[in-house]
Symmetry: C2
């Protein structure tokens, strides 16, 4: 369930006019901007961008970029984009990073549905005039490259059929591969990059049933290099992406200084999808409401905006 509270009816033109009043003159009216855009869904935001352009011959995104600053600006910039555009942007930021943030790449590839991922790949083409896998492949080598390119390029079958004997045999392959430290990476990569998500969840369940430990936990003992990390993230995202996001949020706020990029990323990308569920998972794990944790770690307009997206006005 989404956490975003958006009205079923709104006037894109009135919203655009109100936003124009909020950005004109000296200093923007951040409160007004949050009150509008923090309560509009993707379609509505796109209509507002269009109405704003029609009225003022100006790109609303660029205007907001120049009026706002810091974490608030970055969060608003990400929020106002359409989901696929935003994921393409996030992927590009991750790929430009000197120590490529491959976890964002894995996250986008494994949390998105097969069709969503394809739309993100297309948005990446449009925005950056090259393919996502091309950049991933250029910046990596060996097994990490094979895994990441495989995940990014995947178009998994989306049906709910499960082949139980295949789940068993591939759980065994994964077990053997992990047990023999000289990993049969090829087979692990094949299974993780090509099987349907439903099939993989069945395979991970077989693994846990047979060995009394989750495969991600077992992998933790086996190596902490980039390949193993990427593998664990991929499995977590496929297995239960809400639990995965809970952990990202927890880690982001446990860091000294708070990892605002991660905090923004999760809240902005999930607000319209399943942030309400992630809030529940967070509370169950931490006995603290996510909104309270976020409120403690953030401040100013950035804080106001995140809380609005979490349906918790101050």
């Amino acid at each position: 369930m989404a956490s975003l509270m958006a009205p079923s009816k709104h006037s894109p033109v009135e919203d655009a006019e109100a936003l124009q009043r909020a950005v004109k003159g000296w200093g923007a009216d951040e409160k007004a901007i949050i009150a509008i855009l923090g309560h509009r869904n993707g379609t509505q935001r796109t209509q507002i961008r269009q109405a704003y352009y029609d009225l003022y011959q100006e790109d609303l995104i660029k205007r907001l970029e120049s009026e706002l600053s810091g974490d608030f600006e970055r969060a608003m910039y990400r929020w106002i984009l359409e989901p696929a555009e935003r994921e393409a942007l996030l992927a590009n930021i991750a790929l430009k990073n000197a120590n490529m943030n491959y976890h964002v790449i894995v996250e986008i590839s494994c949390v998105s549905s097969p069709d969503e991922l394809f739309i993100v790949r297309r948005a990446y083409h449009n925005r950056y005039k090259r393919s996502m896998e091309e950049v991933v492949a250029t910046n990596t080598t060996g097994h990490l490259r094979q895994l990441l390119v495989g995940l990014v390029s995947s178009f998994r079958y989306g049906g709910s059929e499960v082949n139980a004997s295949l789940a068993q045999s591939e759980a065994d392959i994964l077990h053997e591969a992990i047990k023999n430290k000289n990993h049969n990476h090829e087979e692990v990569i094949r299974i993780l990059t090509t099987r349907s998500k439903t099939q993989l969840v069945a395979t991970f369940n077989c693994y846990r049933h047979d060995h009394g430990i989750a495969i991600t936990k077992k992998l933790l003992d086996e190596g902490s290099d980039d390949f193993h990390k990427a593998l664990r993230i991929a499995i977590s995202c496929i297995n239960d992406h809400k639990k995965y996001y809970e952990k990202v949020l927890r880690n982001a706020m446990e860091t000294v200084g708070t990892d605002e990029d991660a905090l923004t990323r999760v809240i902005v990308t999930r607000a319209e999808k399943d942030l309400e569920d992630i809030k529940k998972v967070y509370y169950k794990r931490n006995s603290v409401h996510l909104e309270h944790a976020v409120a403690k770690k953030t401040s100013g307009d950035y804080k106001k905006f995140l809380l609005t997206l979490m349906a918790k006005e101050e």
Copy 2:
């Protein structure tokens, strides 16, 4: 340019009725079937299938399958499908083959535009309840697997931009990889599976310019295992797929007994696209018209049908 001659106006209902007359009773009227379906484009054929179903509550494809036989039936079955459905079918036949016909897989992956390939992958999901890459990966190992899965999963950037210095540096990488017999397969696979086609053509041109030999010819000296064969086919398809198809047709007819599967595949899949151009390439290479060569090697309704698709009635 397509070779197919289809009327701009047709009545799906009248066509369906005429087809019903052609298949009812003892023995089908193959001539009538060819006269109709051999002159209808993809959209028109789909409309006819629908009209036939609405009129007779029967699947036209199944009916034709039961009425026709041999090479003619197989050609008609492939022809009547929508292009993406047909490629999915061809891929599946190739994958079911004991000695997987990976050249068909490479062909589909490298000749199709990035968007077309995606539609084929989706058609494969719908038809076979699994992904194409999943089956490819299960049936192969090592570098051949990496190459084939990479090609099948590719969603190359489709723009016409060329980075000349990148073309030069990657031509050098390919040259080094091929020269040192202990091939740097990883880099060859990366380049071939992720770069845009326009970029790759520039890279192949650099290679030929620097070394005075086409990269496919050079590869021919280096190995004749499946990996090298797949590599050569991929390069040929990306570089100039019309020349590639000319060769497939030539080989199909040079074989003792004729390779009808290959002959059908090329004529049926290209009739609506660029078979007219392929005919020209064939004539230039062989000083024989493709239609004459095909007429010599085939017979009966199969021959009539292929010639009709090539716009050469007997």
